[in-house]
Amino acid sequence: MLPYVAVIRDSFHAALTSRVLWIAFGAIWLVLIALAPIGYREDFTTTFRSQDFHNGTRLKAMLAQGLVDEQAKETPSGRIAAVMPDDLARQLRRVGEGDEVRIRLRLLADGLNGCLDEESWYDAEAWKSTLRFRELRELDQLGDDLSESQRRRRARLRIEAAFPGVFEARASRSIMLTYAGLDFPASYAVDKTRFLVLINQYVLPLIIEWLMGFVLVFLGILVTASIIPDMLQPGSLHLLLSKPVSRTMLLLSKFFGGCAFVFLCVLQLVVGLYLIAGLRLDLWNIRLLWCIPVSVFLFSVFYSVSTLAGLIWRSPILAIGVTTIFGTICMLVGIMGGVFDGLVSGPAAIQRLTMVGDTMMGATRGGGLVWFDRDENRWIEVFESNALSGDRVIAPIALGDDLAATSQVKGGRFNPFGSGALDLMVLSRRDDWTPEPSLRLPTATSAIYEAGDDVLALNTGGLALAKKSTILAAYGSDEGSDSSGDPPQQQQEPAGWLAKLTNMMGGATSGFTSILPDRVSMTPPRSVLVDPSGRWAIALMHGRLIRLERGTNTAGPWTLVTDRTLPGEPSSRGTIAISGKRMLIARNEEPIRIVDAESFEPIAQVELSQALAPLAAVGLDDSGRFVLMTSDGRCREVRVSGKDGSTCQLTGPLPFRQVESITTDQQSGRLYVVHHIDRIDVVDPSDLSIVEQIRPSLQRWRLIDRYVMSPLRMLIPQTGELGETIESMVSGKSAVTIDDGSEQGQVVRYDILRPVLSCATFITVMLGLSCLFFATRDF
């Protein structure tokens, strides 16, 4: 290997004497010097921002009510409304009087921020009725012995307590970016851990992706394109070939040596970023160094093209030209692939599957609703999946073997509060699942659950119940009158402006009754589990776990029987599932916990890899077995074992890939795994064997996507997707969750393997062709 090592060393030597390299070094050092003064400062999260509002409409309504409703004036919301700036108060009064007034969230945020410094609005008695989280209780206990930041923080928490269901979950600490000791204008309401995750997952990969993917690759090709043609000069090539070296190895050595240029640049940039992140942000992320081989790998894709072109035409100019054309083709195919992902395959992915009798019904990522026609072996659309419409469909539930209920939120992703009409839609097999409106859902309903003879609707802050019979009666079905002996329970509806304000606040609408006890608000992030027979409901919300049980008074609030605060960051998303008497709790960056389903007493726990985020879980049967779907698109079994059931075991990935969703059929007990967009495997829960595979036939664009775009994306290396590989490697995560207004958020899985495989195959083929050409050709 000595001669080939010499060739590679010589390439390094050549690269180090290149002026372009030193210019690139200079540019890299300028970038690093510019980035070096960036630092951060941590402080309490105090100031409100418009993005802090989960439901601005509710805030507007609560403030308006506080101003116009005499009974509400001494409530916390009323006391805060009283100190709003005059201009805002005037607008809020108009809202309270029933006018359609558009108030910018920023204006509301400014109004609340004004309350942070002056706390005349606070009255301990009034706040006693509010739900105070642990942090506020602790600050209250400290009395007046608080710093200015702590005092402002306490004021913010009091305001949040006064307006339940209005605010997004925010960390108690915020990060303020600084540059050379000066504060940036913007601060980020995330704690340090999340800030570092943000830096890891977005900022650093983005810097590296841009600098590597575009600047250095292009610069690298410009510099290295002449290496092969130069080697082919007679005075150089004949001498090299006269040496006792293999032509193939010589070419490969030249190829790897050519990567030296980019390696040296990337090495400096990445090590520089690593040191800056470590020294200035206290972020010593050794995974950042993975960017070095990945970036060289990315460059080698293009360089393999340049090498072959250089061998054939012996011209650096042609090599650069061909490589540029190739890069353009890669980019175009990447864009087309992205378009197909975004408009064809992405929207068709089934995010939630429900069994309605023997019919499978799914809510798609594109806001569509589909049901599976077994005769035609294809999905039939009820609501069309369309990525551009922004509509969102609430996961359907079964109202019986032949009836289902759902709702479509128009412009849902951009209108998460669901303002405007939000009807519960009932679909009947008899009408070929054509949706017909039924009851009006509470404002901003984001999920509905089957609860025996009832249906529960979850919105921004509450959980409301409606009788199935009422729903069916409103739908106009004959079935409704037969299903229950109870007459439809109509809530006493307040009249006029108050009714309007109540609706705006997400209060129960006609036919729905709130079942939440006092001082319980469904604060996000949350995960709700409802007993199919309707006896109980369990909710994980903002790190708090509660169990509600139906009381004897079926019309009133359910009883809060268990309440426990979980350790860890409250704003972490999570999922829960029940199997027999055991409950699984899986939250981001927390171990998987098994607790008693009634007392919430911990039973066992098992660690989940930090790279994985739990997305959904289902209980398999009553024996304490669960299937957990994780962010890598795989499923794992969680099993409680041991004599006393105190041991928890997490198995390796089950044989399903690219899993979109999992669900169990209550009737058959079978597990349904949706994977590869809309394929379904029906699994026997006892041994997790596949009993049925459903492979729907494809239509139009899906056919083109599978048989044209997918092969094309395998043939043409998807260099752009290597950015995802970098993001995944730097962050150590397999997916990222984007808040799209839905309960679980939109999970974007990093496609790590495909770009690596596609690029590696391409490099192998190109180098193989180059070696064949070089070894057999006369020079």
């Binding site: 090592v5 004497t17 070939l241 006792p244 070296v245």
Partner: protein
């Protein structure tokens, strides 16, 4: 007269079977370069279709250990193709070629060959020393051996003292010296030198020539491709002349030149009585078997004449001089012209294909 004699000699050489050029004198085991019926056809294309080009047409030759083998030929004769085949750069389409008994292009063969290309190109980031280190490593030499040989060779080629200077500042001559040093780096048994003195000034040429002579004296086998016939004549022990992809002639310089040895002697004479110079001179030359006699008046009024004749032996020249002096003819100037390799080269390469 001269022309007809030369052509005849060339024809005689060419009528020898091509295999005769390759016949080793002292057994096959001493053959360093052994080429038999080597052919190379390049695929060529024109607008009218495929037009293959025959670069080599059954070339056979042998170079023995210790030979300084000169390869001569006009441009396009196939010399470079032959060298490329010997180095393994180009694959032959017919025949066989071996170095040291190993097939050309094999690692074993290339391990024992040092090559100086015609236009050596050393990457600009190198110094003379780093270039020697690089090429030494390519020849699988160890670090210690590379350092030792580098010192010796830099001294040998006169680059000591400038060995840490970037090759960017090197003149053509310095490049050639560096090329020679790298070719010698791994102490090869066979040196293939392609135009080693090309671009050098007379001093440089002389230096390179002396290096070659020293290598020859040390027993190295050298395969020399050069356009400079005088150089080949001076240093080569064996020569092959190529034209149109064939070997036209091969052997030692003396063998090649000796085959046409028939010296032309020119006399500038001053006759005491110039009334009939032919009558006076013809008997003298005819008596000593002179051929191709040619008498040209230089200044007839003064009795000054130039006589050219072919006299193969020195004894005949002496006898003619004696005869002239006996007739009181003054010999103002005597010039003996020997035939050169160039004469032979031009004769051989200008032969039509049919003759070959």
């Amino acid at each position: 007269m001269t022309s007809s004699t030369g052509t005849a000699e060339a024809e005689r050489l060419l009528t020898r079977n091509q295999d005769d050029f390759s016949a080793p004198a002292d057994g096959v085991e001493e053959s360093i370069v052994s080429v038999h019926h080597l052919a190379k056809r390049y695929a060529g294309w024109t607008l009218l279709g495929r037009r293959p080009v025959d670069a080599l047409n059954g070339v056979s030759l042998t170079a023995k250990a210790g030979d300084v083998f000169g390869l001569l030929g006009p441009n396009g004769a196939g010399k470079t193709t032959l060298i490329k085949i010997l180095l393994g750069v180009v694959k032959p389409t017919g025949g066989t070629a071996a170095l040291f008994g190993e097939p050309v292009g094999s690692m074993a063969a290339r391990q024992r060959v040092g090559y100086l290309p015609e236009s050596l190109r050393v990457d600009r980031h190198h110094t003379a020393r780093s270039a020697l280190r690089y090429y030494g490593r390519l020849s699988r030499m160890g670090a210690g051996e590379i350092e030792r040989r580098s010192d010796e060779l830099l001294e040998l080629v006169g680059l000591r003292g400038r060995d840490r200077e970037s090759v960017r500042r090197f003149s053509k001559g310095m490049y050639q010296r560096l090329g020679l040093a790298q070719a010698l780096m791994h102490d090869p048994d066979l040196l293939v030198l392609d135009e080693p003195t090309d671009g050098l000034d007379p001093v440089g040429r002389n230096e390179v020539r002396r290096v070659i002579e020293r290598l020859r004296d040390s027993g190295k086998t050298i395969f020399l491709n050069s356009h400079i016939l005088q150089e080949v004549e001076m240093v080569c022990t064996r020569v092959a002349i190529m034209a149109r992809g064939r070997i036209c002639g091969s052997g030692t310089v003396d063998e090649l030149v000796g085959d046409v040895r028939s010296e032309q002697v020119t006399f500038d004479l001053l006759l005491p009585d110039a009334t009939d110079p032919s009558a006076v001179l013809l008997p003298v030359f005819a008596a000593h078997e002179a051929s191709d006699l040619n008498i040209t008046p230089m200044d007839a009024a003064q009795g000054s004449y130039r006589v050219a004749a072919r006299l193969p032996e020195q004894k005949q020249v002496d006898e003619v001089i004696d005869g002239l002096r006996a007739l009181s003819i003054s010999i103002v100037k005597l010039q003996v012209k020997r035939p050169t390799l160039e004469d032979m080269f031009i004769k051989l390469v200008s032969m039509p294909d049919e003759a070959n």
